[in-house]
């Protein structure tokens, strides 16, 4: 079985803007990948119309042998105006539910993500309620670059709602409004190659924030999936946090286990193109803390340029470990996925 945990359907400008409705549709949407950093390459691996076509994406997944795919569209960045942000998130969910989840070509493969705007937590909770009864939605999506770190208390009701509804939380880079903070703490780099290299940092900040602020302690069932971070990058910084926690745990007495323990329990990492060249990937046991084969979930990142094919994933791992990465880890991690698959098997 193959479960693809990171497929990114593109909501086309025209249909998306129509769905957003007035008055916001009087304005143009920012481009899909933002316009600050021009990539010296085409960031879509397929023609734009295929990236926006449920039939084409379904065909791609069928050819790749994918049984289930978790789809998450982007909403083009952090919208500062709360009314506009709400309209954009709701439009994304509505368009996605109608056009993608209900597409007959999906043949039951498509699973969904609920987009929420973080400007107003009450509104975000209502948006979750609007869609969460549909069991095909398996996660929330929040942007990697927000205006706060996700351990902040103001976000807590969102994570609590995710746990209560059996939804995972997917953190994914989503840029475009030019309102997001600079991609590094030392300001704006000058090239696409630079921001691509440091992209994982934002989600690692959230991961650390969840751990240190005690969110995983208060919500032991919270499941967080990072879309742009290799497990090696996350571990290389968590090992520092382990040490600072040891010497300064007086500051965060609620953190009862070392930070890496929460990482292993509450977080999974979508396969990255660079996983395989990391010196730490040659064997699962070669990594501090050991078992990475249970922490990585396969995600093709289709239709993006830096995608990963199932047959290229961790080719040096044993078949058993690869199988875990391709399906079992996701089945164990996303509460709704396990329920869905077991229901289908028994029917």
């Amino acid at each position: 079985m193959i479960i693809d945990c990171a497929v990114h359907p593109v909501l086309g400008d025209e249909e998306f803007n129509r769905e957003i409705g007035g008055p916001w549709n009087l304005l143009k949407l920012p481009p899909l990948f933002g316009d600050r950093y021009r990539a010296p390459l085409d960031q879509l691996a397929v023609p734009a119309e295929e990236a926006s076509s449920p039939a084409a994406v379904a065909e791609q997944l069928r050819r790749a042998g994918v049984d289930y795919a978790v789809l998450s569209p982007t909403t083009r960045g952090y919208w500062p105006n709360p009314q506009q942000a709400t309209a954009v998130a709701r439009a994304a969910n509505k368009l996605f539910a109608e056009k993608w989840l209900n597409a007959p070509e999906g043949e039951g493969r498509f699973l969904g993500s609920i987009r929420i705007a973080l400007n107003d937590v009450d509104v975000a909770l209502r948006e979750i309620d609007r869609w969460a009864d549909d069991e095909r939605f398996v996660q929330l999506v929040v942007p990697a670059r927000a205006l706060g770190t996700y351990g902040e208390q103001r976000f807590f009701p969102i994570w609590r709602a995710a746990v209560e509804r059996g939804l995972a939380v997917f953190i994914h880079d989503d840029l475009g409004t030019l309102c997001e903070p600079p991609p590094s703490q030392v300001g704006f780099p000058s090239h696409f190659a630079e921001i691509h290299a440091i992209r994982p940092m934002s989600a690692i900040v959230h991961l650390t924030s969840f751990i240190v602020a005690g969110v995983f302690e208060r919500l032991p069932d919270l499941r967080v999936v990072l879309g742009d971070v290799s497990v090696h990058a996350a571990r290389s910084l968590a090992i520092r946090t382990d040490k600072d926690w040891q010497s300064d745990r007086l500051e965060v007495p609620w953190v009862s286990k070392d930070p890496t323990t929460y990482l292993e329990r509450n977080v999974r990492f979508v396969t990255q193109p660079d996983d395989e060249i990391s010196p730490h990937s040659s064997s699962a046991a070669g990594t501090i803390g050991g078992d990475n084969s249970s922490l990585v979930v396969f995600g093709s990142r289709h239709p993006y340029w830096d995608g990963v094919r199932a047959e290229d994933v961790f080719t040096t791992w044993s078949e058993k470990d690869r199988a875990r990465c391709l399906a079992d880890n996701a089945l164990q991690f996303y509460p709704r996925l396990a329920a869905r698959v077991s229901a289908e098997i028994s029917s």
Partner: protein
């Protein structure tokens, strides 16, 4: 005994005897006894405005260890921590078997909003260091200095480097982690040009003082010191490293070397792997001569403290070796701070003995062009005696 695993130089009677250099500490903080000691080194008109400089916060309680910050046994009876040459010399060279100490003064606290004030303070710190720790307190020639500069005043910084670049004891340039743009930005180029011209490596040490932004990330401010201290330095260093590579700075200044201090080691590999993976596609517009990993090998080094640790000594040693610690890692203790790593405990136990030797002294010796031996001195003779 914290130093039991390292062989000590034997005390010698003949004062012209020499010992081999076995431990070079690349991160030692020394300070004036108090700010008053710095005032005479300020140039006019800043000497008359010393109160303005003294008001620049030394550290900030926004993000600060609750542990106090200093080694409990390193506070002298009088004066600030790291200010008593007898105590510092004894703790580094007698209690621990350190041969040379690379001094990184903390007195330049960080950036303020006034680049002229920053350069005035940097300039005073350099004069003070040259006059005290690099001469008066340096009869044994165990100390080497760093030229403190303010990156927010690149012209003033280059002038400072030119002023001290020929001084025999200044062996590097010291900068902080913060700048309004990543350091490959062309506005900083005069600093790297001057350092490379004088053959001086650049030591980057994160700073939590003055009034520069602290703890802000690409996704908002951090809440806790535990997050700040584990993430801020490596994230800033990664941004600068990638920026220096991608903006051609290392092609323009092939002699340039950078040491990332107190910011970890293992993180660099995933960051550079990610840059390297798609280099043909993302890097082709940059017209660079080498691959990212080649730039790292040729230009970047990492100081060891606080060393990444794991209870499985073999696993962590394997990670260090995979990340090429043998060539890229330099020992550092962070004396006199609370998280001091003594040389005997700084490295994973299972690391290959030859690799350990390189990390403890040889890598730094080559980088800073330091001697292979030194004369036996009074510190050697004090080893083993009661203090």
């Amino acid at each position: 005994m914290t130093t039991a695993t390292l062989t000590r130089p034997q005390a010698q009677e003949n004062r012209f005897d020499t010992v081999d250099i076995k431990v070079i500490d690349t991160d030692v903080h020394v300070e004036p006894r108090s700010f008053d000691e710095l005032i005479p080194y300020l140039d006019a008109p800043w000497r008359d405005r010393a109160n303005l400089i003294d008001a620049v916060p030394w550290s900030r309680s926004t993000y600060k260890t609750l542990d106090g910050g200093g080694r409990k046994d390193a506070y002298p009876e009088k004066g600030d921590i790291g200010s008593d040459p007898e105590m510092v010399g004894r703790q580094l060279f007698v209690d621990d078997p350190i041969d040379f100490a690379m001094l990184l003064p903390w007195s330049f606290r960080g950036l303020t909003v006034d680049p002229r004030l920053d350069t005035a303070l940097a300039s005073a710190v350099n004069k003070w260091l040259a006059d005290t720790w690099l001469s008066k307190y340096n009869a044994e020639s165990r100390y080497f200095g760093a030229i403190t500069v303010s990156v927010d005043d690149p012209v003033g910084a280059a002038r400072e480097i030119d002023k001290w670049g020929g001084h025999p004891a200044f062996r590097q340039v010291l900068i902080g982690h913060y700048g309004p743009r990543p350091f490959g930005h062309p506005s900083y180029d005069s600093i790297w040009e001057a350092a490379a011209r004088h053959g001086l490596p650049i030591s980057m040490h994160f700073r939590g003082g003055a009034t520069q932004p602290l703890g802000w990330t690409s996704t908002g401010p951090l809440q806790y010191f535990v997050e700040y201290h584990s993430l801020i330095a490596p994230m800033a260093y990664a941004s600068h490293m990638v920026s220096w590579i991608c903006n051609g700075v290392l092609d323009r200044h092939p002699e340039m070397k950078v040491v990332f201090v107190e910011g970890g080691f293992l993180w660099y590999r995933p960051v550079v792997d990610r840059l390297q993976r798609h280099w043909k596609m993302t890097g082709h517009e940059l017209s660079l001569r080498k691959t990212p990993l080649e730039y790292v090998h040729d230009h970047f080094r990492f100081a060891s403290q606080p060393i990444e640790e794991n209870t499985d000594s073999q696993k962590i040693a394997a990670l260090f070796e995979e990340a090429n610690a043998a060539e890229l890692l330099l020992f550092s203790s962070d004396y006199p701070h609370y998280d001091y790593d003594p040389p005997s405990k700084a490295l994973p136990r299972s690391l290959d003995a030859e690799v350990k030797k390189r990390i403890l002294s040889e890598n730094a010796r080559v980088l800073y062009d330091l001697p292979k031996t030194r004369p036996v001195d009074r510190f050697d003779r004090a080893v083993g005696g009661l203090q």
